[in-house]
Symmetry: C2
């Protein structure tokens, strides 16, 4: 089978870009990518895959495939838009990877983008996020997206004795990393006490346990092994790609203290890559809520079930720890423009493995992983990368 690698990666700053449109952000990510990868011209791009969750609901614009192709200067390339809620960017990456593996394309552009702050009513953002969950069976009862994650948090507390300081340590670590990341939305550190003491959103999750609404875009250039050396001498290979689903509604899950889809997607990716979890030294994890990173590092086998909280509090996931998680700042502090996030994770790992991030955030790893969740765990996508 065709081997697929990343030849270049670029992301915009994640922020509240009040003065900029989705088009503008997506175009910056494409132009920025072409500036980084000087040995490629737009006419080489036969296919562009766009990850986006909810531009229809958020800005009244669908059909982002040709929109990004058009405003990226890539016409008449084919444009594909894929969606899997908060995992839309990871799904775009995986779809680009499979399009190249098909043998029909040697080069694919993957763009993730979301423009959330054109919606200024927080109730609208809450409703859009909730549309990743089961509309008929959950939303109509009044359960919000944060409320769903609060239920999972309580289940983990109950099962394993995890507490608020454990989950707060996730946010504190991710904010500490973001201080050094020029692309991050929140370059400000918080202590564990500050996270624990923040205003309540959905008990036990406080404001600093929750990722923000963000605007941003990210892009990677995927190539087959046949052509990648024309563009770069130091590609990062995608050695494993896993994807699994679970029910949309929480009521139908096996349990709420673990995400089955993450376990299955991780298993697929590890088997393809031929690695065990302890080979992973750097990982960009889905931390839309602080609890999600705890679930992820347990479900991916970095730590035993129930040990994710204590390990985080002990610093084992800090930069240079047993496994560095979210050196970018994660969804919490880098920001979470839904469809852009999964692509930005790949950009971060690409730059980590090439030693191109700020020195304070450098994890010195040879093998990396990205983990993306859609909804409350209904979609999980895991990729493994190697220099």
């Amino acid at each position: 089978m065709v081997k697929v690698g990343i030849a270049a990666g670029y992301m915009t700053k994640f922020a509240e870009h009040w003065q900029r449109s989705l088009k503008d952000l997506a175009a910056e990510s494409v132009v920025g990518l072409f500036e980084e990868a000087e040995n490629i011209t737009p006419d080489r791009i036969g296919i562009t895959i766009v990850g986006n969750m909810a531009s229809g609901q958020l800005i009244g614009q669908e059909h982002l495939g040709p929109l990004v192709v058009d405003h990226g200067g890539l016409l008449p390339a084919a444009g594909v838009k894929v969606e899997a809620a908060g995992a839309s960017g990871a799904l775009a990456l995986r779809t680009g990877y499979l399009y190249i593996k098909s043998g029909l394309y040697d080069v694919a552009l993957v763009v993730g983008v979301e423009k959330m702050t054109d919606q200024t009513r927080s109730a609208k953002i809450t409703s859009v996020l909730s549309s990743a969950s089961d509309q008929e069976w959950e939303l109509q009862t009044g359960l919000t997206f944060a409320g769903s994650y609060a239920l999972m948090t309580k289940a983990h507390f109950e099962k394993y004795g995890t507490n608020k300081r454990h989950i707060a340590a996730v946010s504190a670590k991710n904010h500490a990393n973001a201080v050094y990341n020029a692309k991050a939305q929140f370059r400000r550190a918080f202590t564990i006490d500050q996270v624990v003491g923040a205003a309540m959103v959905a008990d036990p999750l406080g404001l600093l346990d929750c990722s923000p609404a963000s605007d941003g875009a990210a892009a990677v250039l995927l190539c087959s092994e046949k052509v990648i050396n024309e563009i770069t001498d130091t590609p990062v290979w995608i050695t494993g790609s896993g994807h699994a689903s679970d029910s949309l509604s929480l009521a139908q899950r096996e349990n709420l203290h673990s995400m089955k889809a993450t376990r299955l997607a991780g298993k697929q990716a590890y088997e393809q890559a031929g690695v065990e979890p302890d080979a992973i030294r750097v990982a960009e994890m889905h931390d839309n809520f602080s609890i999600t990173e705890i679930l992820g590092i347990e479900d991916l086998g970095f730590f035993l079930p129930g040990q994710g909280g204590p390990a985080t509090l002990d610093g084992e996931t800090q930069i240079g720890g047993k496994v560095t998680t979210n050196p970018s700042g994660g969804l919490k502090a880098l920001g979470h423009p839904l469809g852009a996030t999964g692509v930005a994770q790949a950009v971060e790992i690409f730059k980590q493995l090439r030693r191109e991030v700020e020195p304070q955030r450098q994890a010195d790893a040879e093998i990396g992983l990205t983990h993306s969740i859609g909804g409350t765990g209904s979609t999980a996508i895991v990729h493994v990368y190697q220099r």
Copy 2:
């Protein structure tokens, strides 16, 4: 490269399904498919690709990949949702085809679905359709989706002398075919005079030049050559798949009397399939407006530029004509539940080539084609099929 074929196909009736939800329609398409293809069990499905345009805007539900996997009884298979406006179903087919070509999957389920009639305000439907066009540069000027197609119609009239009777002949033919199709939304014939005399929507397009708002779902089972004979002895192979883009806004097109993306996607598909346009004896064409079928049969080389209208009026695209177009009734009379349409087109061609449609609609063809348009021609996807 891996050869990909269709092993089974099923569609719900297209209609205003007031009593049924998107979930319900999607589940019927999956269950119906498994009843048709008795030699396959759900555990063989590793991947499901869902085509849908606007469930977020229409019913407040995103994340249809795992939703369809879940309610189709296919957990924990991966679920992918793709979108390209009115070509979303065709994009789902093409993505499933490429996922199998990648070698990672031998079986893929492709589902198209849309639930439009939960929105009862026609202004909301108009706004959703328009979100396939350029929101910033066209919609804010007040240009509607039907208005955009009216501009293209006038350009074709001006360039080639096409007239209202020519385009009306498309609707009259498609309605005549739908009379015999049990799955069609409108099983009623109209004369050309009736079409020409219908109430005006956007000059020169009248009510009977426009496809309706519809609910429905369709599904096909795609397999690699390695496993397809376990399921059926009479597969239909996808021998060509083309996909191209054009600008979202009409102002940036080369001209308005032809769709460049169709020409490019058709060229790709013909070259892959190793056929010329005159080999195609049956085609499901995108006729969201009557003019679109005229543009399509010219851009795909069935007729010379400007000859599409006269050829249609002369009956050359009727069943048994030079090339039978829209034996199903087309978007106009079969119905147009946006994301379902492209998959339903594949179901029709699958059944046409296997001689499984109602005898009155049988085109007796060996090679077939489907043509799908997103927006005003910003996306074009073309597939070629052979027994």
